[in-house]
């Protein structure tokens, strides 16, 4: 399985979990010239920009460790883009949060 496919599965899973937590998924894979955001979700007045990281093992540390300074900057810039677009549509955002969602699907062979 290639990484793109794994990432897609992870994002779908993440969206499912968010929905079950009461979030409303506003957009998936939002892209603009400044960067991209995996999932944009809202719950009440809170709007969350969520980066989903999917891994098959923890051999390379925690998934969220790979969300570095540059990646964070891209997400922030993309968020500004998105919020501006929304503002034009007359949407007034409340609180904003930037989240990371870790999904580890580790296949332990011959576990017991």
């Amino acid at each position: 399985m290639d990484n793109i496919k794994l990432g897609r599965i992870g994002e779908e899973t993440a969206a499912e979990i968010l929905r079950s937590k009461g979030f409303q998924i506003l957009q998936k894979n939002y892209k603009c010239s400044m960067g991209e955001v995996d999932i944009i979700a809202a719950k009440g007045s809170l709007i969350s920009f969520i980066e989903v990281k999917t891994r098959q093992s923890r051999a390379y540390g925690r998934p969220c460790e790979s969300v570095g300074k540059d990646k964070q900057k891209h997400i922030k810039n993309a968020a500004v883009c998105y919020l501006k677009e929304m503002e034009k549509k007359g949407y007034v955002p409340g609180r904003v949060s930037f989240d990371v969602m870790e999904i580890t699907a580790e296949h332990i062979t011959a576990a017991f």
Partner: protein, 511 residues
Amino acid sequence: MLTKTIAATLEGVEGTLVTVEVDIRRGMPTFTIVGLADTTIKEACSRMKPAVLNSGFDFPDERVTVNLVPAGKPKEGTHFDLPIAVGMITPELGFSIPEDTAFLGELSLDGKLNRIKGALPLVMCLRKQGIKKVILPIGNAEETAILKDVDIMPAEDLDQVIRHVAGSSRLPVYKGKKISVSYDGDLDFSQVAGQETVKRAVVIGVAGNHGLLLMGGPGCGKTMIARRIPTIMPEPTYDEMLETTGVYSVSGLLSEAQPFIDKRPFRSPHHTISSSGLLGGGVRPRPGEISLAHRGVLFLDEMGEFDGGVLDAMRQPMEEGLVRITRNNREVTFPAQVMVVAAANPCKCGHLWDDRKICTCSRKQLDDYARKLNGPFSDRIDMHIKMFPVDKDVVADDIYRRNSMSSAEMRRQVTDAVDIQRERYADTKYRSNGDLDEKGIAIYCRLDKNCSKLLSLAYDRLGLSMRACSRSIKVARTIADLAGETKIREEHLTEALMYRVSDGGQQARQA
């Protein structure tokens, strides 16, 4: 999860207790150190992860915040690695950190504990704060084991330390090897032919901790005599040994082969030395030669060749017995209680006092040289001794040489006088006659009528300064102690004044 571990930090040779707080919280993995830590401590961030993982422990992939309390005091040194690591690992394993134990040590990437600088003063500061158990690298065990009332538990690696904290295998308390004081057998005063009067002056100087200025032509034995001074110095006391070793520990001059300084140091800096080399300095202040000679001898060979500014800069530390270095609004002090021994030629060419040779110095050269020899620096040296070339009879007479005073004999005289002083100054701040201030002189160096008269005469005729007078009184006190007398008598003061008259400047002016 919050843990607290005890450590310490140094400023000069003065330590401060530091509590290392480690907070582990869920979130994006970060590692932050706060509390005015300098680069050496900040680098612990990168050392910590491999060191912990290679020791076989889990590194908490969480938001780790380390705070060094008191947060307002600047801290430096690599020895914070161990307390941080212990504070980070133990809560994960479910053990609590003992509050009566301090942790000091630098981590290697493989988890081994490396030798640290300044271990002895760090442990001494912890001892003062009532911490009597210290875990530190095995390389620092010998150096710190001279502190008898502290339990030193040396460890080889992080694993051993964690096992100790967990209680599964306790680290044994290290008892140091026996301290032995030995003298360099190659040097002895009996090798000095003639110059018996100078040797007498050296005994007085060492017995009372008075500075010596030896003036004489080239080859008359100034350096030879100075190098033999350590052979007759009284053995350092336990506290003195700790002070000296502390300075060397901070400078990183101790090694496995020489874990502590059990002899009085003898430092002879070259005359081209800068003032920061002599007094200490640098961005992160380090002790200079004067501090490395603490409780020992600072030998300034060819004093006339030293930079005038350097000698002038030494005046205040000499009087005060400590060096103050100011950096970024904070003051670092290093101890500097030394016996100054200076040697100088009477003039630039050196032949001024030798009847068999001709002095080739110009008027100006003589004046310039005399200025250095009679400046405010040499006024602060208690005893000025004029040395002449050895008599031709002594050169011929083998028996005379064999009868010359040996180090053993001189040391016996010194030890007796030192014992008298130790007894007399037992409950005071003074240690020797050389330490006496104006108040001390008034109490311990009472002069009778005849002596007072003699002193005022000398003040007038010899052109002594008031400081020179009080210094002569202190020397007279030592001479009386060497004679085993409780009162200073006229003959003692006369001899003391003799060590002031050999004034190079006057000689130069007459020539």
